[in-house]
């Protein structure tokens, strides 16, 4: 997704001179094409995220559209107050691009695991939050929404992904639903691939599952959620994020606010701080975020009487 992000941003920057790319010294073997194509609009600000995020507000005030690139933990947290008091307070089109949600930087350890970035961003009322499921969605989001007036947080997976079922669909404030079923899995970002694989496995067991991709986290796809969940007995949220503050919370809030009777099962990252590290695959498995873990969860959930 990083490469898709950069190649699309280059094309947008070709035709819109307001687009600027800032990085806090990350993006080796990723950002070079932008730097070469638009050297006058590329700045490595150094390992200084707070300055990057505030500076972006200053630049946006002057009419630019700055993209601030870093690993999701640093991008979302090191300049958080700067984002709150800068771009969010003044409603400026700053885009924070957080790379690698959840365990994407697996063995790099806890300091590199973005477990609460969505929670932090969701409490800012005017910040758009987007977690694309695949490269085609990355391209759609950027092309259609890069110039929106409000600030935005983009949570991008490190690796490339393609989900043909999605056909690159992305609509601001909406869900993208794949298939139909008694049980629905709501997934974000790279968990979409896990959810779709679980769906294929369960089809063989004659358990029908719909997968709803929550790429537009804010604005929340509230209408779509209510319409989808009203007819379902149970739903499962799956996210490489803490179960608090992400889409598990979003769906719980929606169910409560609209008096829905849908049973909700939230699956997220429950490892305590200080747990041992490892590959993304290993860490996901430990948290039940792998295909097998999700299949088991759906089987259990499908057996819950209505």
């Amino acid at each position: 997704m990083r490469k898709q992000f950069v190649s699309t941003l280059i094309e947008i920057a070709d035709s819109d001179s307001r687009v600027v790319l800032l990085t806090a010294d990350l993006g080796f073997m990723v950002l070079e094409p932008f730097a070469q194509r638009h050297p006058d609009r590329f700045f490595n600000v150094g390992v200084a995220e707070a300055n990057m995020i505030s500076m972006a507000a200053g630049m946006a005030h002057e009419g630019f559209i700055p993209f601030c690139y870093s690993i999701a933990t640093f991008a979302s947290m090191r300049g958080y107050e700067q984002f709150r008091n800068g771009a969010a307070l003044h409603n400026l089109p700053v885009r924070i691009v957080g790379i690698g949600g959840g365990f994407a930087y697996g063995s790099a350890g806890f300091t590199h695991h973005a477990l609460e970035d969505i929670a932090l961003m969701r409490v800012q009322p005017n910040v758009g939050i987007v977690a694309p499921a695949d490269d085609a969605q990355v391209e759609r989001v950027l092309r259609d929404h890069y110039a929106r007036p409000q600030p935005m947080y983009l949570r991008l997976a490190k690796d490339s992904a393609t989900h043909p079922e999605l056909e690159g669909r992305f609509r601001w404030g909406h869900l993208e639903v794949i298939g139909e079923g008694d049980v629905v899995i709501l997934a974000i970002g790279s968990m979409t691939g896990v959810a779709l694989e679980a769906r294929r496995r369960l089809q063989a067991e004659r358990i029908s599952v719909a997968v709803a991709v929550v790429a537009s986290i804010a604005p929340a796809p509230t209408k779509d959620l209510v319409a989808l969940l009203a007819s379902k007995n149970a739903c499962i949220t799956v996210e490489d994020h803490r179960p608090i503050g992400g889409i598990g919370s979003l769906v719980a809030e929606t169910i409560a606010d609209h008096g829905l009777g849908t049973r909700l099962v939230r699956r997220g990252i429950s490892d305590p701080p200080g747990e041992s590290s490892g590959s993304e695959e290993f860490l996901r498995q430990r948290n039940g975020l792998d295909v097998e873990g999700l299949v088991t969860l759906v089987r259990q959930t499908a057996m819950i009487p209505a």
């Binding site: 600000v45 300055n51 200053g58 005030h61 002057e62 800068g86 003044h90």
Partner: protein, 260 residues
């Protein structure tokens, strides 16, 4: 606004009287900081800045009362609006809000102004926009790491449309700055990061204007304005407690008499 008109209507004495009066009416402190920057603001707004194209950021937002009093004298806000200082449903809080005319960025949390200013300065250089960016910071604000991130960036990128003014009053919320974090070597520090550094008596409006009008070429400018917290009111000068305390009736009358 033409400079000549402003010079006639903006004066340090009137700004100081206004600070004392508003602080008394609202029963709110931060008087020492406001009095400390009064002359810097008078110099900037009456003689240095062209408010049509220059940008001012009060990074030490807690001294906003001084800025409101300057705005009232310049006619940016009226007396009625100034009289809402710290009242309910007012945009004139202790710290400045961008909803108020003349305020480009809301501030209050220290250490944001230098980065915001660097962003504006960089953007203006890229776009070829005229005008300078002035950021007023406090000496205690230098404790914030983000200030140093901005100092490094602006120095490296030679943002010569950026001018940081240090309100060097030697005092912070709990103690003299020299006792908290000694920054007596600040000039050398910023020079080593690529800034042109100058020093001025922060209560001499003519001298401030002369120094602030200078625009360096090829480097950002850092002006150390040596000031006195509570300047103009003898019992407030260099007194840490006047960072927070409001005035009572007797102190109010005495302060006005001293200011003249």
């Amino acid at each position: 606004m033409a400079h000549g008109d402003i010079a006639r209507t903006l004066g340090s004495v009137q700004v100081r009287r206004s600070i004392i009066n508003q602080s008394k009416r609202a029963h709110v402190g931060h008087i020492g900081s406001a009095l400390s920057i009064a002359d810097i603001l008078v110099a900037l707004f009456s003689r240095v800045m062209n408010t049509d194209e220059d940008v001012f950021i009060l990074s030490k937002g807690h001294a906003a009362l001084a800025l409101y009093c300057v705005f009232e004298q310049l006619g940016v806000i009226d007396q009625k609006t100034l009289d809402t200082y710290c009242a309910d449903d007012s945009h004139l809080g202790v710290h400045p809000e961008h909803a108020l005319p003349g305020i480009t960025f809301s501030t209050g949390s220290l250490g944001h102004g230098p980065s915001l200013g660097s962003g504006v300065a960089l953007a203006r250089r890229m776009a070829g926009t005229r005008g300078r960016v002035f950021v007023l910071i406090s000496d205690a604000e230098l404790n914030e790491g983000s200030v140093w991130e901005a100092l490094m960036f602006a120095g490296h990128h030679k943002l010569d449309n950026l001018c940081l003014i240090l309100d060097n009053n030697g005092q912070q919320a709990l103690a003299p700055t020299a006792d908290v974090i000694n920054l007596s070597g600040i000039a050398t520090a910023v020079q080593s990061l690529g800034w042109e550094c100058d020093r001025v008596n922060g209560h001499d409006v003519a001298e401030l204007a002369r120094i602030l009008e200078v625009r360096s070429v090829g480097s950002p400018r850092f002006v150390i304005a040596d000031t006195i917290a509570g300047k103009g009111v003898s019992f407030m000068e260099r007194q840490v407690r006047w960072h927070y305390l409001p005035v009572d009736d007797e102190q109010h009358a005495l302060a006005l008499r001293e200011i003249g």
